[in-house]
Amino acid sequence: MIKLKQISKSFGRHQVLKNIDLAVAKGEVVVILGPSGSGKTTLLRCVNYLEKPGGGEIAIGDFKLDCRHARKKDIHQLRQKTAMVFQQYNLFRHKTALENVMEGLLIVKKLPKEEARKKSIALLEKVGLGAKLDAYPSQLSGGQQQRVGIARALALEPEVILFDEPTSALDPELVGEVLAVIRKIAKEGITMIVVTHEMGFARDVANHVVFMDGGVIVEEGTPTEVFNHPREERTKQFLKRITPELNYSI
């Protein structure tokens, strides 16, 4: 139900995305892997137009957007159907955890305040932050901030949540708590596209794994296919490099 057709993107002369096609079914968790510079984050950012694609089509359900003729209204609509969890959390710094989650509900969804509040509290409790409603981002640890970020994305009830390396800015000991929350919501059947370097997590949670390199999708399939029986040489090389502990003992 999410279909990317022939998405391309260039920064100056450098083509970062070369006609990417990708389909994500409802309730599916798609994990995108790839070395840095492979274009995976750019692809994710194209899906909600934080990067303007050079061409192609984005379809979510019945909604279709031709990237060559996107109007402001279309982009706005596209963004309302998606939500994003950022690598650097990007919580609104001048708002408390609760206000961060409520903001989109009040301003974009135009919910009445009391309803927005109730819903937001429930979501923050779900990510284990029921006790931190009134804390500002600067008073929260990275892991806590990212969990607020996830609650903020969930609140909008988007058709898809985009995760842009949600744990790579975190201290190692905080990665676990964030992954646990993502696992939990993945099980609830929320459609997600996740860019990550966490291989164990990808193997566990993904229904579908996409390996990108040099702006193209090199290989895709089920986690078992991609992790255990990679067909392409580039995929094998990458997996070997990123999971050295499987090959060497230190």
């Binding site: 909600n48 137009y49 934080l50 706005h76 963004r79 309302q80 998606t82 939500a83 994003m84 950022f86 650097q88 990007n90 919580l91 609104f92 710094r93 001048h94 708002k95 408390t96 903001e103 989109g104 301003i107 974009v108 500002y136 981002p137 600067s138 008073q139 903020r152 909008l156 985009l162």
Partner: protein
Amino acid sequence: MGAPFDISYIFSFLPKLLTTLGTTLLIVGFSLLAGILVGFLVALPRLYKVPVLKTFAEIYISFFRGTPILIQLFLFYYGLPEILKLVHVDVTRAPVLFFVILTYGLHTGAFMSEMIRASVTAVDRGQVEAAYAAGMTSFQAFSRIVLPQALGIAVPVFSNLVIALLKDTSLAFTLGVMEMTGKAQTLGSISQHFIETYIALALIYLVISFTLEKLLLVAERRLLRHEVPGSPARKTFGLQKNGSYRRMIAQLGPGKGGGG
């Protein structure tokens, strides 16, 4: 030079000088309003990179930051009527205060626009992205996310600019405006107790500057209550934790670097 020092004159001059405090504050207040307005108008084309207008804005800022306020005062006082005469507008009868406020307004405006631009740019790009990702329009993202944060960042610079403006108004006497400094000179020459007058004058400026600074500090604390003090944990060379480093940098940044 003058009569022998007599401390009692300081106290007797204080109330006399304070009678003209209204004029000084009037100049500060109106120039400030004009300056904020001009500052926004000049900052916008630079923030949104509007061609041509952006160049005009840059020249404007460069001129008003690149020449002394004293020269600007004379330039506008003598020059504006002549230039307006070319388009058949007669301002020769306009009160001096009009020229004074106009000049200070335009002067502060140049600094204000730099302050506005710097504070808006200082808000993390990720904040806007998060707002867009949540489905906000660009106006919502600016008014609800960027502006409130930029305000907090701007206060220390703003505080510095207001105090600089207050001090700069001491030059209005050169055009014959009877504000505090003008009054002090009159009192000095009448009584020949120059030192005492100027001590009294300096004391009044000091108290006003101090009060303004404290008031704006309260405003800053309120606007930045979401930032844990010293949260970007940095160890500096400083052996003390006297005030925040960000504040000091901000005060010196696009502000006026002394003089005036």
